[in-house]
């Protein structure tokens, strides 16, 4: 496992919409314990959803999974989900802000809002991942991350249950990786050198 100055990135942001819970159910459990960076996720979800998905993913994953709380300082190895009906933002001091301002791309939480503010906070030290979904939320945010020197990974539209969201990124620019879902987790483990040895 890489530590300290050897870590190539400082955070991972993920956006998913229709079909995303299944995709995350495949992706998140593949990540090894001890990931040296935080993961922030916007999964489009109904405003009245309960916290079941948090409990569910926390049980399935080697990493700690929780709902993002206002003013919380991001911790390595922790997965933060945007709460239903709130935008998730990252501050320059790597703490979390929530907002209930108007919907962006018909969505609250919106992937673009997370990706944009995370890009401001982390610059080229950020990985953005777009999974399955039926709209274009996240595409503008990915482009911003890319322009800031960050890394963009997109689920191969052919393997996505709904291809629109990954496609909307690929239409804008060439992502660093376009991969089947099953290969994204291993890539992240490899980037942070956390592939289990024996």
């Amino acid at each position: 496992m890489l530590t300290g100055a050897n870590i190539p990135y400082d955070a991972i942001v993920i956006g998913a919409s229709a079909g995303g819970l299944d995709a995350l159910g495949v992706f998140l459990p593949m990540l090894e314990a001890g990931l040296p960076v935080p993961i922030l996720i916007v999964q489009h979800i109904s405003a009245t959803s309960d916290s079941f998905i948090i409990t569910y993913f926390d049980r399935m994953c080697k990493l700690k999974v929780k709902e993002a709380e206002e003013k919380e300082i991001l911790e390595p190895g922790c997965v933060y989900f945007a709460p239903p009906d709130y935008h998730l933002l990252v501050e320059a001091d790597k703490s979390i802000s929530l907002s209930n301002e108007e919907k962006v791309n018909y969505s609250r939480p919106s992937i673009d809002v997370l990706f944009e503010t995370a890009s401001w906070a982390y610059g080229n030290r950020l990985i953005g991942i777009i999974l399955t979904g039926a709209n274009w939320d996240g595409a503008a945010g990915c482009e911003l991350i890319k322009k800031g020197g960050g890394l963009i990974i997109v689920q191969d539209p052919k393997t996505a249950s709904i291809s629109r969201m990954p496609e909307s990124v690929i239409e804008r620019f060439k992502p660093d990786y376009v991969l089947p879902l099953q290969e994204i987790g291993p890539l992240i483990n490899k980037i942070f050198n956390s592939t289990p040895t024996q």
């Binding site: 709380e69 003013k71 990252v90 501050e91 907002s99 503010t117």
Partner: protein, 283 residues
């Protein structure tokens, strides 16, 4: 040498962060509105949004417009003020008000309620409906305040799109409504106006949580989803303002993702319904 070291530690690295700091300093000096302790990520998004709409290339250019063009400043004021609200938003919260808070309020001969940051007034009227149904409205004085004059005017007018009524009716029922929601408004074409009886005891007033002082002797202060836009020190200051505005045993109601747990004022409050962020000033 010492100066150099100090500088590199104190100065933010990001030039845009410096520009935003200067913009808010300028707005405060010129117009008296204080956004200096607002959450920066949120503020930066709103500023960027305004730059795109108005075709402005840098925050410094925007600052020039704001300082010299008052009408442009008022546009920025709308940008920086969040006005997402609905009637009986989080119906379970209002159900808790009905079940846990109203019985206590009923023991008082006279009740004062402050809606701080009331925006366009939807929650003010939601609360007025509950008070009416519980027989408390005629002995309650309601203060509804906001720093944004245009939303306050909308709150006063109490005219809302008829298209929202389906959702609001559903919320009203879930919140334990005892009557029919349509009894509280008159519909005409594509708008509704809330009935006058609800407004009789409401005073609408311009009040800025950041720069103005306490509202005295309140039995209940409701301020939902405003504190999340403030940084930690401003949050603490405003919770202090609420504490000073409440009578002993008075209720403080915050938004579902807001908390006073890490506030220095926490020790003065006790939770009434933790899940819905209803607190009470301890005796």
């Amino acid at each position: 040498m010492v100066v150099q070291e100090l500088n590199s530690e104190i100065l933010p690295q990001d030039p845009q962060a410096i520009e935003i700091g200067l913009l808010f300093e300028g707005i405060y000096l010129r117009y008296g509105y204080d956004f200096r302790d607002y959450g920066k990520a949120h503020a930066k998004r709103r500023i960027m949004h305004r730059m795109v709409i108005s075709g402005i290339n840098s925050i410094s250019e925007l600052q020039h417009r704001v300082l010299y063009d008052e009408s442009f400043f008022h546009l920025m004021l709308q940008d920086l003020s969040i006005n997402t609200t609905e009637m009986f938003r989080d119906p379970e919260f209002f159900l808790s008000i009905r079940e846990q808070v109203i019985p206590v309020l009923k023991t008082y001969p006279f009740i004062k309620i402050w809606h701080a940051g009331c925006s366009t007034g939807e929650e003010v009227y939601s609360m007025a409906i509950i008070l009416k149904e519980e027989g408390l409205l005629n002995r309650t004085q309601i203060y509804a305040t906001d720093f944004n004059p245009s939303v306050l005017q909308k709150a006063r007018e109490a005219i809302y799109p008829v298209s929202q009524m389906k959702d609001y009716t559903r919320n009203y029922i879930k919140s334990g409504g005892k009557s029919s929601f349509s009894e509280y408004y008159n519909a005409r074409y594509d708008s509704v106006i809330m009935k006058k009886i609800l407004k009789e005891n409401i005073v609408f007033a311009d009040h800025n949580l950041v720069t103005d002082s306490v509202f005295g002797e309140m039995n209940l202060v409701m301020c939902r989803n405003t504190l999340i836009y403030f940084n930690k020190s401003l949050q603490d200051k405003v919770v202090g303002l609420f504490r000073d505005s409440l009578v002993t045993g008075g209720f403080l109601c915050l938004g579902s993702k807001e908390s006073i747990t890490f506030s220095p004022h926490n020790i003065y409050f006790e939770p009434v319904v933790s899940k819905h962020k209803i607190f009470r000033l301890k005796y």
